[in-house]
Symmetry: C2
């Protein structure tokens, strides 16, 4: 019988054909980039003011200080963010400017409004500036065609902001798999049914659905299938048409009423492993069918959740491009004797 | 000017009228329970076998061991999970039983199949059992009407499994707020527009949307509103019809082109605070309007995200019933001088 680490290694070494999908950036949250993101522009796209203040010529304000202010003439039109400056600054002049607004021609520094006194059309400057001070220069943050985010990056809110600001509205990400759940067993009933003798409510498909949702994968619950070979066989085959990963719960133990192994055999699946040396959850199977993966999970509500965390989640991560870290963790653990 | 801790305290002391909503249990993932969950039944609902094995009378197998097995007669009908046993066990008899199957009358322990040898209709038992061994008794895990999950519990996959197994399909949770985003400014353009002089792409509404999604709240992006008083006023008022929390980005600094404060005044909002002693992001406002909350957030892409984490996320958590922990964290921090 396989040890847990051997079983986990078999799962994470599965040959998964990752697919990509193009989505609006807001839908890419917590997915993994399948392309490099390149800036469409220099950012900032033009020299602009970093503060609310007064655009001046550097040479005009050399030596300005509290007791010896420099007096400049204020040009009439100020420059709000979003407005293109109409006038160039000549020597002895200044122009009021807002944070983010494009610099007027002739300006090479901006004095903060706190260091200035306006007197009609005169402006008193009380503080010297370095050349270029309070200016954000074109391309200072990002150059056009710079790679701003790389393939393989998991996408968080700041990354979505970066994509928006550099002109990317649709992004290629690794497509999360579709994970189906097929609970089997004559003893299973729905949540709202009355518990009779010999019946238990199917809770596994709910806890598994929630675990799948947490991974970002799509989940499909096919509902309870009674212990009927033909019915189970058809349900498995039609589920495999739609799903990348199919989770069977119940039916994989060694009990005489466990049809599922026989049915899986008849379908022609490949058994990767059938039992794992773990307690509880020994009767746990991992199989492949064409490019699809099938897990036979134990019926016990705790075991089924633990097996999901140990085996199913790492496989889902191989699809979503997020598998490297979990692969490394599992391989690191594999050197310990923790079984 | 308020310190960060004073501002945070004002936010977390907001009078939020939490609403509840009834949802299917699978949709309640990561939400917070607004009711106690009570079991509809004893769990297990009937005495059943914990193993695959043979149901016997305890007195019949006293002294059984490897070299001195006890021989019992096997009753014809075995008991799979989900089947109601038809025959009672008389002395000297046994019946094959599967994990989870109801016990037949007269049985008071189950021998594991590993400790048994079947010879036609005879069964050799090689191991004694304690009375009650390998039996799961009715109500052993949960009693009918027991509270299995309490109001205020954040819901994880295992909780959804517990609700399903105890017969709850719909659950009352605290309703996440609707959070609107209204970016204002003549300088803003959409992601796909060409960056001209004086223009920047509106990235804040994307990073904010992603942050809102992470909290589980609903997000509504109202799109860029130009710097026109009437337009902004109408947009704010109609957004407030739909949202519990409205985020304005841009327009709250002290610049001469920041109409928003004036507009908010004219609407009749109540200013809780207007500026916070933080860098960057000083121009940050928190206001209330009837039972709604408004944040005026700075335009800088980093500041806006930080302000979300510091102020907006804790407020959202008050709505979702998940605020206690963040309130405690903030109050604990409030004793430090970390500003």
């Amino acid at each position: 019988m396989l040890s847990v680490k051997e079983a986990q290694e078999k799962v994470i070494n599965s040959a998964v054909a990752k697919k990509t999908v193009k989505v609006p950036i807001i839908e890419s949250l917590h997915m993994v980039l399948a392309e490099d993101i390149v800036s469409h522009d220099d950012i900032p796209a033009y020299d602009n003011s970093a503060v609310d203040g007064f655009a001046v010529k550097y040479v005009d304000i050399i030596g300005a200080e509290k007791n010896y202010p420099v007096k400049l003439k204020l040009l009439k039109d100020d420059i709000p963010a979003g407005k293109i400056p109409e006038n160039a600054i000549e020597s002895g002049m200044c122009i009021q400017i807002m944070t983010g607004a494009p610099l007027p021609q002739g300006c090479n520094c901006v004095v903060m409004k706190e260091d200035v006194l306006k007197e009609g059309r005169d402006v008193l400057i009380f503080k010297e500036c370095r050349q270029g001070e309070n200016i954000r220069f074109e391309g200072e943050d990002i150059k056009k065609d710079d790679v701003v985010l790389r393939t393989g990056k998991k996408i968080f809110p700041a990354d979505i902001g970066i994509m928006a600001s550099t002109g990317t509205d649709m992004v290629s990400v690794y497509k999360p798999p579709v994970v189906g759940i097929l609970p089997t067993g004559d003893e299973l009933i729905g949540i709202n049914e009355e518990l009779g003798l010999g019946k238990v409510r199917d809770s596994n498909s709910y806890s598994l659905s929630a675990q799948i949702i947490e991974t970002g994968a799509a989940h499909k619950n096919y509902g309870i299938v009674k212990d009927d070979k033909e019915l189970i066989r058809n349900s498995i085959l039609s589920a495999l048409d739609e799903c990348d990963i199919l989770l069977l719960t119940g039916g994989v133990s060694v009990g005489d009423y466990d049809y599922v192994r026989e049915i899986l055999d008849s379908i022609g699946v490949e058994f990767v492993f059938w039992r794992v040396n773990q307690k509880s959850g020994k009767p746990m199977a991992f199989l492949t069918y064409k490019d699809k993966f099938i897990f036979g999970l134990p019926g016990n509500p705790v075991s089924v959740m633990v097996c999901f965390e140990f085996y199913v989640r790492p496989l889902i991560k191989l699809f979503t491009g997020d598998g490297e870290l979990s692969r490394k963790k599992i391989l690191a653990k594999a050197s310990d004797d923790y079984v």
